[in-house]
């Protein structure tokens, strides 16, 4: 989490450092969402001290991992100046495809996983090429893709998902590292999320990541400086669909197959990324902030659970929070 820090020299007197920190925490960027996450977690612990126990923390990590993976994927697309509204139905489609094709058969786990990867990449490629080469706004491209996937999957299964996921498929989403039920364990989902975030941080430091942010900030200037903007953005869509596939494996393992898998996840992922201070329209924000945004969003849901809010009021609270968070971030940025 030193990406925001590394740009500024953190030297000076103790008072200067304190002021720097205060500014950083209140700036509305990645440190603010981190502060929000800490505050929410502290409130949860105050309400329910048992949340601080390693077992509950790991359960939280397991639940949050898919959203983190999706948020990282969405980050690539958003920072390049586009949207991906298709990830929710892609997650749903992948889970249903997996269940239908393997139907509980262990031997088919790996072939089906390979097929899911290919399918995910294909969806990303279509999204990317239609957006960049045919110049359809990504909002419309991915909205259309969402309709197509939603309809195609239900057409294929006749309305209700059939089949079952094999046990080895579900390990990643469900099991953990010393596999003793009820004991402390590091969930595999957490490891997957960490690997994804690490890989994304590395990628954003490479020329690809730098050019991607540049393309989101000013596509014309980036094109004139010699970067293939259309291919950069297409790769962002490929990464988003790839990570949606990874998230589908985690979600399928965690929650199993239902007709509603993935519904609304695209807006959750976009909310998480935006909560992390990443600007819609591209060119601003870090991938770590997107991850923290996802954790903060998931922590807020946990808090709502702890407060025993009626589940129907939750969307309203979520709505207020994202508006306030983005308004807060916008307040500083323009002055």
């Amino acid at each position: 989490m030193t990406t925001g820090l590394s740009q500024e020299t953190a030297q000076g007197t103790a008072r200067g450092t304190a002021r720097q920190w205060r500014e950083r925490l209140l700036s509305g960027g990645s440190w603010t969402v981190l502060a929000l996450l800490v505050v929410v977690l502290v409130v949860i612990v105050v309400i329910n001290p048992s949340f601080a126990e390693p077992v509950s923390l790991m359960a939280f990590a397991k639940k949050a991992a898919p959203l983190v993976v999706l948020a990282v994927g969405q980050y690539f697309v958003i920072v390049s100046g586009e949207f991906d509204l298709s990830v929710g139905s892609l997650v749903g489609a992948q889970v249903v495809i997996a269940a239908r094709l393997m139907d509980g058969d262990e031997a088919l786990t790996w072939p089906v996983l390979a097929l899911m990867l290919v399918f995910g990449l294909l969806v990303g490629l279509v999204n990317g090429l239609v957006t960049t080469l045919l110049r359809v706004p990504s909002f419309i491209t991915t909205l259309g893709m969402m309709l197509v996937l939603f309809g195609a999957i239900r057409l294929w299964t006749g309305g209700a998902p059939t089949g079952a996921l094999s046990e080895s498929f579900r390990v990643l989403g469900r099991k953990g590292f010393p596999d003793v039920p009820g004991q402390f364990q590091v969930p595999y989902a957490l490891l997957v999320a960490l690997v994804v975030v690490g890989f994304a941080v590395l990628l954003m430091r490479r020329p690809f990541g730098r050019s991607l942010v540049a393309a989101g900030d000013n596509a014309v200037a980036t094109a004139y400086s010699g970067a293939p903007v259309w291919w950069l953005r297409t790769r962002a869509f490929l990464l988003s669909s790839l990570l949606a596939t990874v998230a589908a494996v985690l979600i399928g393992g965690f929650a199993g197959v239902t007709a509603q898998v993935g519904q609304g996840l695209e807006f959750m992922a976009i909310t998480a990324v935006v909560l992390g201070g990443v600007a819609l329209g591209g060119g601003r924000g870090t991938v770590v902030a997107a991850m923290v945004g996802a954790l903060a969003l998931e922590a807020l849901f946990t808090l709502f659970n702890q407060l025993a809010l009626p589940s129907t009021i939750r969307p309203a609270v979520q709505g207020v929070i994202i508006i306030v968070a983005v308004a807060y971030a916008a307040r500083r940025r323009r002055t």
Binding site: F83, V130, T132, L133, L134, R135, V136, P137, F139, I140, T141, L143, G144, M145, M146, L147, V148, F150, G151, A152, R154, L155, G159, A219, V220, A223, Y224, G226, A227, P228, V229, W230, W231, F267, I270, T271, V274, A279, L280, G281, P310, T312, I313, R314, P315, A316, V317, Q318, G319, V320, I322, I323, V326, A327, A330, R331, R334
Partner: protein, 341 residues
């Protein structure tokens, strides 16, 4: 579509293309239905088609104003549901309270639009987030407060949903009147010109003395008002208010119709007439799918493909080279320069 070698001389606007596409789809659908031994233009089908246009039409006309300002409104679906409930519960089956119900529903709609507009213009929140958040807030309120259909619409008001003049439903006529009003607003009034200016370039508009905040707020209020009318129409058709209307996907559908109608999603260009054409295309498709007895899930697939394909067809024309100053010679347009690395 005519962007070929010699076609430059006759300039085909995007609205004309929308209506050409509509005619094309009508012909194709008509032939397909005729091959199956039906008649797409039978009175029942035509009035179904026109009925389909009215609900989405109201929402899409409002959405056009917002999209022209380079904004967008994802809360319209929830506003429709909210207004159907407020209208129906206020009327409470009493014919003398019809006007009260209409006014109450529209006032609430205008209030939601006002808040949307203020959050976007004064708090500088991205429209996507602001209206998504507002939609979630309204959804939370609806789910908590209403546990199913509520209220009762007196028969006098239900006629708004069912009366037809020949094959044309009254609701469609009202929708076309609203669209005409929006057309006049956009092409004949200062507020309308300001909307184009704000959508074209916010900073330039502000520097030219346009009160950009007011323009955005006005567009959002009008958009929510249109959604409110759609909510009243739902109430009139169902006889009660219903929260579940928000799951119809009116928000995304209306944006699809607007873009299908040739309005640029990035603001500053487009027309209400195009939007009405876009709504009509979606309604024709829906009717044809129904008459042809297409699997409802397959409808979604086709709709997705058609929306993308149509927008891809106009996309090249909307970023019209003729209307932009060429700066660095002919080739090397922005988003596709360079080679595959």
């Amino acid at each position: 579509m005519t962007a070929g070698t010699g076609a430059r001389r006759y300039h085909l606007g995007s609205t004309e293309i929308v209506y050409l596409a509509l005619v094309g789809i009508l012909v194709v659908a008509g032939v397909l239905v005729a091959v199956r031994g039906g008649n797409l233009f039978a009175q029942g089908n035509v009035s179904y088609m026109l009925t389909q246009t009215s609900l989405l039409g109201f929402v899409a006309v409002g959405q056009t104003l917002v999209v022209l300002c380079r904004s967008l409104d994802l809360s319209v679906g929830y506003v429709v549901a909210l207004c159907s409930l407020i209208g129906a519960t206020t009327m409470a089956g009493d014919p003398s309270r019809v006007w009260l119900g209409v006014v109450a529903a529209l006032a609430v709609a205008a209030g939601v639009g006002l808040v949307n507009g203020l959050i976007i213009s004064a708090l500088r929140v991205n429209a996507f987030i602001a209206t998504l958040g507002m939609g979630l807030i309204v959804k939370g309120f609806l789910d908590t407060r209403f546990k199913g259909p509520e209220g009762e619409v007196p028969f006098a008001f239900q006629t708004f949903g069912y009366t037809r003049i020949g094959p044309v439903p009254v609701s469609t006529i009202v929708m076309l009147l609203v669209a005409a009003a929006a057309f006049v607003l956009l092409t004949r009034t200062r507020a309308g010109y300001h909307m184009f200016a704000v959508g074209g370039n916010l900073d330039v508009a502000r520097l030219s003395g346009v009160r950009t905040g007011r323009t955005l707020v006005l567009a959002h209020v009008l958009c929510s008002l249109c959604a409110g009318v759609a909510g009243l129409l739902i109430a009139a058709r169902f006889g009660t208010g219903n929260a579940l209307v928000y799951s119809y996907g009116l928000d995304l559908d209306s944006i699809a119709a607007v873009v299908l109608g040739g309005t640029l999603l990035f603001g500053g260009r487009g027309s209400v007439i195009g939007t009405v054409g876009g709504v009509a295309i979606l309604a024709v498709l829906d009717t044809a799918f129904n008459v042809l007895d297409v699997n409802p899930f397959f409808k979604d697939v086709l709709r997705g493909v058609i929306i993308i394909a149509a927008v891809a067809l106009y996309a090249r024309r909307q970023i019209d080279p003729a209307s932009r100053r060429v700066r660095f010679g002919a080739k090397g347009s922005a988003s596709r320069g360079g080679d595959v690395a």
